[in-house]
């Protein structure tokens, strides 16, 4: 190992949180933030954000190696949100982790603000690629994983994909490549919330058996409850420890998770009027850690 590599491994400017109770508390706070961000204008994706809050919390507070003060650090772990519209939770998480000024959240989706609905690299290097056109994130992640390997860097690449997004053919071209090249520094997380614009994914074009598909493409596959913090943290750690193949985490998530009045409602771009937002915030304040 070169000197530089050793340094990279030791440097962890944003310390990882390993206490699952604390992670759950953070996830709950991020959920409240999602509702606060989406409610005033109705812009943004509340159901997806609540569903993916545990994935984002574990990713940014426990798994990723990053330096909020130096977002372009070459040895950072890369994170790509291929479903780039899921920004309410993404920005809430980035702000809580110190990667975005909290105050900038007030401009979410406002004219002129770089905090667009679809995450754009206008924000800076933490948006590793601009991904609003679905189906493209995994290809970029594969390229990054191959380049990291080529450059002998030990950083990892994580990418979240949506279940509807899996219908894009490009996803499967990228998956074939990742498996063929045994990219063990790559971790794909399928945010399996069962929802797309047209409703339930099974009523549009179903994916099952999706775990078997990724397995046959050469991935190490784990199916977990994506709203169980222990399970999420554990799956990320096992992906990191594995050195033979890329990992695919099939994360079952529940849209609206945490606010009983919203849970399970397949509203893709659901508006959230003030009274319902207030109710959701109340539910989120009472429940959880």
């Amino acid at each position: 190992m070169t000197k530089q590599e050793t340094r990279a491994r030791e440097r962890q400017p944003a310390p990882r949180i390993t206490d699952v109770t604390e992670l759950k508390r953070i996830a709950q706070e991020l959920r409240r933030q999602v509702v606060r961000l989406v409610a005033p204008t109705g812009q943004g994706y509340v159901q997806q954000g609540l569903g993916a809050a545990d994935l984002f919390t574990a990713m940014f507070f426990s798994e990723l190696r990053l330096d909020p003060a130096d977002p372009a650090w070459p040895d950072r772990d890369r994170f790509l949100l291929s479903t780039a519209h899921n920004t309410a939770i993404f920005y809430a998480t980035l702000a809580a982790r110190g990667c975005l000024p909290e105050a900038s959240l007030a401009d979410y989706c406002k004219d002129g603000s770089p905090l667009e609905i679809n995450a754009s690299e206008r924000i800076g290097p933490l948006i590793e690629a601009t991904c609003g056109s679905l189906g493209q994130g995994l290809s970029v992640a594969v390229g990054m994983a191959m380049a990291l390997r080529h450059q002998k860097r030990d950083a990892r690449v994580h990418v979240i994909l949506g279940d509807g997004e899996m219908q894009e053919g490009q996803v499967w071209e990228a998956a074939l490549m990742a498996g063929a090249r045994k990219l063990s520094n790559l971790c794909l997380i399928l945010d399996y919330n069962r929802m797309q614009v047209g409703g339930h994914v099974d009523n549009v074009v179903g994916l099952e058996p999706v775990a078997d598909k990724f397995q046959s493409f050469g991935f190490r596959v784990e199916t977990i409850d994506g709203n169980d913090m222990d399970a999420v943290v554990g799956a990320f750690a096992r992906a990191r420890a594995h050195s033979e193949a890329p990992t695919c985490i099939v994360a079952d998530t529940l849209v609206g998770k945490g606010a009983p009045s919203l849970e399970g409602i397949l509203g893709h771009n659901m508006k959230l009027p003030a009274d319902l937002a207030a109710r959701a915030l109340k539910e989120l304040a009472g429940a959880g850690a």
């Binding site: 109705g42 679809n118 601009t130 609003g132 797309q196």
Partner: protein, 336 residues
């Protein structure tokens, strides 16, 4: 796994409806259903955007002729070619940007080359969405214009959305429809036929503004402003961008001498390019200026904000007219 449970005290549809700003009229979607009831060859394909492409009614009313393609636009175009080769008339739906850029090779080989009657219908033209660069079709007209056998149509507004269905069906081969949904205020608007020829909306001797889509309204507004300043200009709605009504373009360029082309699209490859190509080849020495997106990507934002920031508004057309008039003046001076 996570299973769907419903909200405590209301149905899902209640919930979504309550939060919505109000249902949008379905000028295009209703016309497509009406046409499909008359012509059993018509089928609809959609890449997971039934609401935003107004095909939700088609899905509900004619479910056996509605085919959900999922989020897989390239595959959808190939499937549409298959339907067309089997004698159907497929209307395929997504956002403009995805049915053009993302499926271009499939459109070229499987639709345009064999001249199949596939009607490619896109929504969110140009800078009309908060969804940002990935969702903004700034080059779709250029892409579709460049394909042999392709007809390119852009209604001037909600009044021509139903007419776009008729125009698409009257055109035997492949057609690209570039559509912008009408807002709630457009409900009940009187439909206007969509012409193959340029439609002169206003006649004035001093200059001509050729416009398409959203820019038609801006051009009419600009013409009002110019009239106050003493320039009485013609305004032409070019709803059929390809094939372009070149005879009208040449005639008005010759008779008025000052030409502005305005579009909610890049200045490269769209209406402005088509008009410029026509004028150069016809040897018309007109003053000329383009209004459009200046060879740049944009950003997400409200439509008025984007149209103003990226120079697509009435005042930008007025400014362009000034440039074209100055150029005309210079041409005449050079001649004297």
């Amino acid at each position: 796994m996570s299973s769907a449970s419903s909200a405590a005290d209301q149905t899902v549809s209640d919930f979504i409806a309550r939060g919505a700003t109000g249902p949008l009229p379905r000028h295009y979607g209703d016309a497509l259903v009406a046409a499909a009831r008359k012509d059993p060859r018509i089928v609809a394909l959609c890449a997971d955007l039934p609401g935003p492409t107004e095909t939700d009614l088609f899905q509900a009313e004619l479910p056996d002729r509605y085919f959900e393609a999922g989020i897989a636009e390239a595959n959808m175009i190939g499937m549409a070619a298959g339907f067309a080769r089997m004698g159907q008339i497929p209307f395929v739906h997504s956002f403009c940007v995805f049915v053009t850029r993302r499926a271009y090779d499939q459109v070229a080989n499987q639709v345009a080359y064999p001249k199949l009657p596939v009607k490619i219908v896109g929504f969110l033209p140009g800078l009309t969405t908060m969804l940002g660069v990935s969702h903004q079709a700034i080059d779709d007209v250029a892409l579709m214009r460049a394909l042999p056998n392709m007809t390119v149509i852009e209604p001037s507004g909600p009044e021509q959305l139903a007419g776009a269905v008729t125009a698409a069906l009257e055109t035997p081969g492949p057609v690209y429809l570039r559509m912008l949904r009408g807002d709630a205020a457009s409900a009940g608007i009187a439909p206007k036929p969509l012409l193959r020829t340029g439609e002169v909306l206003r006649r004035g001797p001093h200059g001509t503004i050729f416009a398409s889509g959203l820019s038609v309204a801006a051009a009419l507004e600009a013409a009002e402003t110019l009239a106050k300043d003493g320039s009485d200009v013609s305004v032409v709605n070019i709803a059929t961008v390809k094939p372009l009504d070149t005879a009208l373009v040449v005639e008005l360029a010759k008779s008025t001498g000052i030409v502005v082309a305005a579009e909610n699209h890049s200045i490269i490859g769209g209406l402005g390019s088509a008009v410029a190509e026509t004028l150069m080849e016809a040897g018309v020495p007109a003053g000329f200026a383009r209004v459009g997106i200046q060879d740049t990507f944009a950003e997400g934002g409200t439509t008025p904000y984007l149209q103003a920031k990226y120079g697509l508004g009435a005042k930008d057309i007025v400014a362009a007219y000034g440039r074209a008039a100055a150029q005309r003046h210079a041409i005449e001076k050079g001649r004297a």
